[in-house]
Amino acid sequence: MNLRAFSNLRRNYLRNSASDVSESSLAFWLLLPAVLLLALIVVYPVAKVIHDSFYSISLFSESGPAFVGFSNYVDAMRDPDVWRAVRFTIALCVVTVPGALLVGLGLALLANREWKWRWPVRLALLLPWAIPLAFSGMIFAWFFNTEYGVVNDLLRRAGFAPISFLLIPQWSFLAICIATIWKTSSFVALILLAGLQTIPRSLYEAAALEGASRWQIFRHVTLPLLMPAMMIALIFRTISALQSFDIPYAMTQGGPARYTETLSILINTTAIEYMDVGYGSALAVLLFLLSMAISSVYLRKLYKGAL
């Protein structure tokens, strides 16, 4: 071993000794509450779901749980219902995530401006969110109702024939998307608004002086500096879009003809209605893996670039 390598080694040793130890031990203590919470609340349930996914546990069957290896997963892969639900869920994601991002960004930009409409905008920004999720779907089911819905009332007034939105597959998809975007844009807007507030005013000033138009300022200053917030909003919005349950369920119960059945609805019916816990767990794990796969792209970006 030459001297240089030795001194490197020594340096590394030193570096990892004193201040690092105190920093990483502080890191440990700071992470502890979060870790404890997780250990207490999440570890067992998640482990149980994963465990159950390898068993055949149907509460309807007389026999007890039996280890079946990957057969639940294999079944899932072969199950056309699963594929249909995956397709629908992803379609929902593809529309509602960008949709909510766009609406949320618009709201956040409006709410961040120094103008007299700021207060109403901020209210508009959070009202959809303040209406509990359990009721949001119902309200929109009502809005899109053929007879009693506001949307059809407007259509009628405009001279169109009413549309049974929730009974026709394509329309019901649209209705669910609208409701979802409406409900979730608040979340996005709030995070983006917070992100906007960290951008120093002087940068806008500098850009304005350099002759940038509003759009250029937005494109070259606001947007890049908003990226971390955007990533956060994206990650969580995507995850929750993949888990869409309440709104589609309240609006169509997965109908018409299971067309709007999301993965979560499918899991719910499987595990709770049909009490097929093993299969349901396997589906839950698959949903988890899907979420992981999709959000890992963002995550990498997040801790490479932004964080």
Partner: protein, 272 residues
């Protein structure tokens, strides 16, 4: 020429989008049941009535629900913020091995659909003797909000110029003091945002609240409000009235908080 109206139209659409359902609920809360079944539908209440509000308060202990929801939401928010602050600081400012892994693990929590975790969660809470208490909700809510709150806080901590924190440490702060006295106040918009996220999540949540906290005395709002419905009836007017009662304090609370958050908290601190 074309740009300006376009912007205004976009703004108007966004505003209507935000307001309409809430306004509709407000209007409904003044309608009578039968009015809802009329076709063509009515927009303004034909026979405005406050009965629904009376019912909202008399049929169910609405104030109790409000109080419960508030307590649960507040406590879980505080717990989340506490845990998330530490985690976010460790993630952003401290030397931490496997930072990426920690981050991923944290976010992964959010990826399990809560419905599937319900039964084991129930068992845990029963084991802790927390079933039908605030605790049964506070803990899981805190965990639910932990990932997003941590990331929001982390992104704010990241924005605080390092030298300001350095100055604090030179002034004699420990890392922790620098966190609580300098970094945290400078991240106020992030703290408030994380707080609001956690609070509203707790305020909104239904499924866990139904399963883990069914005792009449500690019931939260979403569960409580659904009790207005009968087996077959869904009395929108009364429920709307209850929703209005539930939304107004929340909206006021959030707006108050938001208005206190001024942007550009770190301006003037650093040259360059």
């Amino acid at each position: 020429m074309l740009k300006l109206p376009l912007r205004w139209i976009a703004a108007a659409v966004l505003l209507i989008n935000g307001f309409f359902p809430a306004v509709w609920i407000l209007l409904t809360s003044f309608k009578q049941d039968a009015e809802l079944a009329q076709t063509p539908i009515t927009w303004w209440p034909q026979h405005p009535t406050l009965d629904n509000y009376v019912h909202a308060f008399s049929d169910q202990p609405l104030l109790l629900f409000l109080g419960n929801s508030f307590a649960v939401a507040l406590l879980s928010t505080l717990l989340t913020l506490f845990a998330a602050t530490g985690a976010a600081y460790a993630l952003t400012r401290l030397r931490l091995r496997r930072r990426g892994l920690t981050l991923t693990a944290l976010v992964a929590i959010a990826m399990f659909p809560p419905a599937t975790l319900l039964v084991p969660l129930f068992e845990i809470m029963r084991g802790l003797g927390l079933i039908n208490t605030y605790g049964a909700l506070i803990l899981p809510y805190a965990v639910q909000s932990l990932p997003v709150c941590t990331l929001v806080l982390a992104s704010f901590f990241q924005q605080v110029p390092k030298d300001i924190e350095n100055a604090a440490m030179l002034d004699g702060c420990t890392r922790l003091q620098a966190l609580y006295r300098i970094v945290l106040p400078l991240s106020a918009p992030g703290v408030f945002t994380a707080g609001i996220l956690a609070f509203v999540n707790a305020w909104d949540e239904f499924l866990l609240a139904l399963a883990l906290n069914a005792a009449p005395g500690s019931r939260t709002l979403p569960v409580g409000i659904l009790l207005y419905q009968g087996e077959f009836t869904f009395p929108w007017p009364v429920i709307s009235a209850a929703l209005v009662v539930a939304i107004v304090p929340l909206a006021i609370l959030i707006i108050l908080f938001q208005e206190r958050v001024i942007s550009g908290l770190t301006t003037g601190g650093i040259k360059g």
